[in-house]
Symmetry: C2
Subunit: 405 residues, 2 copies
């Protein structure tokens, strides 16, 4: 199946518009802090959310609004997570009502999300004051919407792809924010996907729920799981394909395109982890089960010692083996091979659990690249998994030592 | 029961001698790297070890040597973990044989331990060459032995206490090393305890195994679990108390004194975590079960975001709540209170899951101290737990970004 990347982000599929403005939640007036994404027509929708018991108020409201599988708009602010404050639910609902007032889209067809500091009240006034301007800015402005949902992100995270379902051209677009508190159990921080595919809410939810297991759920920046993780998709059907209402070739085509987008975003999110200078990709093969493959890959990616070694371009493979050993999986320590790979070359460091001689010069070269693969072969079975993370740097500490002020 | 701290470390109990020398495993000649601890008479012994599937060769050899509950000497080197190399078991056994050769203590009555880099061969030659000098140095030299087992530790970790069992004066002494890869499931890195108490091997093992659950197992520096964690105790019976061979008042007295030592060492190990500037103590009360109390306390202590906030003296309590929320425990989010406490005062930040107003000035004062308590009341039941950790600093990254070179 051919998948072609195109421009436009969430506005790439037919019938979607977006906007982003500075409304005043953030003090820095040059940083946009309020985003709106709207479909011209009602869309089927699906979502996955944080499994943290402490949930942001917007997560609660969005879950409720999506219970019927329908939505037409997404409103999202940065600068305040609207979480753990006594007034959160009211404010999150009020944000949906403001969308209804300005657009006519029913409040319960609005997805609401917030990101930023936990525990402070979110004032509705700046949002209310910015609403009509935000609505009139709606257009081909995915970049503005993406900026408005960023916190300490240093890069925009967006993708859009074109593909065909039974000969009909379809599009999926997306924007995401990543950064700290990235260790999702379902979806990482905020990811908004749009599509013009025609698909039932049920199949859309099924596609998304299955997808995140091998995409967003395989990222870890710091092992902390956010209270506000939300990944939502709207599919408005304007592509005109025969509606996907069951499994089969059309559903598989949609899932393949969706996975292309989510894996690309996962890599972007991992690479732009707080303070990160490197993307670390851990590929596990030869596992005895899928869960073993996934668990080993994530345990390695999460190890602070592995992450710090990657920052220092230090081929300290013993830490990789150590992490595999405490993963809780019944691996055979004496059948594990480890190789570090990057654009600069390949470094075989561990065979059957024991160190092999390698060139320190080559090691520095391989590990000084900004994308590093840790390849692990467990030689027990045929299951595979990939996880994405980043290095642990001075800047992670700096950013998180003084986040509120 | 009265417990009095005394000087002398592992040499404080009757009949124990220690020594530490530089033998040459480390290049830095001013740093001791080989320690020996000997009991004049055979001792009962017990140990707990890493649960990492990747185990250092010395762990395997020590476990085997302690199978009969007897030991009389401990030999330990720093600078090389003797782990994940093809020759490890032979070298670890050879270290025990060298002790036998010089002292007459049987090789299988020797506890052997190593700490340092994983995956490199440990050369026996410098150890063999240093052996007779090390043996002749044996004396009241707990400080030297402690220095010899340190890696990136910045402080010595030692304690000794005097107490009575049924009117008989008894002593426990200990030295430990902590630092990175500290997230034990049984015991943290290297802890050697000596005692002149008379107790059977079986009761000694029982006391130690129970103790570590609320002491060393409740520390986390970086969430990584070492391949070489070893905690051993020798009890040579020279105090002359009636032998402890069952539960009862004498056993409880011994356990109380033991716990005094292990908790004190736990706090020292956490406070001296790699790069740490602060000891973080998390006290959980009101839990619905013991495992809930322990799991919540450890999850908070392990959160990179909480640790970075403590480094920055930032009262970002939302991260504490967030960590509780992903602990996997069924807490009631709307009945959680959180308070930060230090010598500088008390800061109540969260009531029933919601933020309360507090003075940022007081917050800075409270969190700028070098020992901070995070007090969490879950208001669900009566179970309690304490966990110890440290802040996450630039220096953690620096130390671990380039450990091998």
């Amino acid at each position: 199946m051919e998948i072609k990347e195109i421009a436009g982000g969430v506005c790439a599929p037919k019938g979607f518009k977006a906007a982003g403005v500075h409304c005043g939640i953030r003090k820095n007036k040059t940083k946009k802090d309020l985003a709106l994404i709207v479909s011209e027509v009602p869309a089927n929708a699906a979502g996955v959310y944080t499994s943290n018991l402490v949930k942001g108020a917007p997560v609660v409201v969005t879950k409720n609004n999506l219970a019927d599988g329908k939505a037409q708009a997404i409103i999202c602010n940065s600068g305040n997570a609207n979480t753990c404050n006594t007034d959160g639910i009211r404010v999150a609902k009020e944000m949906c009502s403001l969308v209804e007032k300005v657009s006519g889209i029913k409040a319960n067809d609005v997805i609401v999300a917030s990101t930023g500091v936990i525990g402070q009240k979110l004032s509705i006034e700046p949002i209310a004051a910015a609403m009509s301007g935000l609505y009139s800015d709606l257009g081909n402005n995915s970049v503005d919407a993406n900026e408005a949902i960023m916190t300490t992100d240093t890069t925009q995270k967006t993708v859009a792809v074109e593909f065909t379902i039974a000969g009909v051209k379809c599009v999926i677009g997306a924007i995401a924010k990543g950064i700290g508190m990235v260790c999702p159990n379902m979806a990482t921080n905020l990811i908004f996907l749009t599509s013009d595919v025609s698909i039932t809410s049920k199949m859309l939810q099924k596609a998304l729920s299955e997808d995140v297991k091998s995409s967003f759920n395989m990222i870890s920046v710091d092992g902390d799981q956010s209270t506000n993780d939300t990944c939502c998709i709207l599919a408005n059907g304007l592509a005109g394909n025969k509606i996907i209402d069951s499994e089969g070739a059309d559903f598989e085509a949609f899932k393949t395109a969706l996975n292309y987008c989510t894996v690309k975003l996962s890599r972007m999110i991992a690479k732009d982890g707080e303070g990160a200078t490197k993307l670390i990709e851990c590929k596990v093969s030869g596992a005895g089960s899928e869960s073993m493959a996934k668990n080993v890959a994530k345990t390695v990616i999460k190890s602070s010692l592995v992450k710090a070694a990657m920052f220092g371009a230090d081929a300290n493979w013993g830490r990789v083996l150590c992490a595999i050993g405490y993963s809780g999986e019944k691996v055979n320590v004496n059948s594990i091979d480890v190789t570090f790979v990057s654009r600069a070359g390949e470094l075989f460091v561990c065979k059957d659990g024991y160190g092999v001689d390698f060139s320190e010069e080559l090691a520095k070269k391989v590990l000084s690249e900004d994308e590093i693969k840790i390849i692990i072969d467990l030689k027990l079975g045929s299951y595979k998994a990939v996880a994405w993370g980043c290095d642990l740097t001075y800047d992670y500490v700096k950013i998180n030592g003084d986040y509120r002020t």
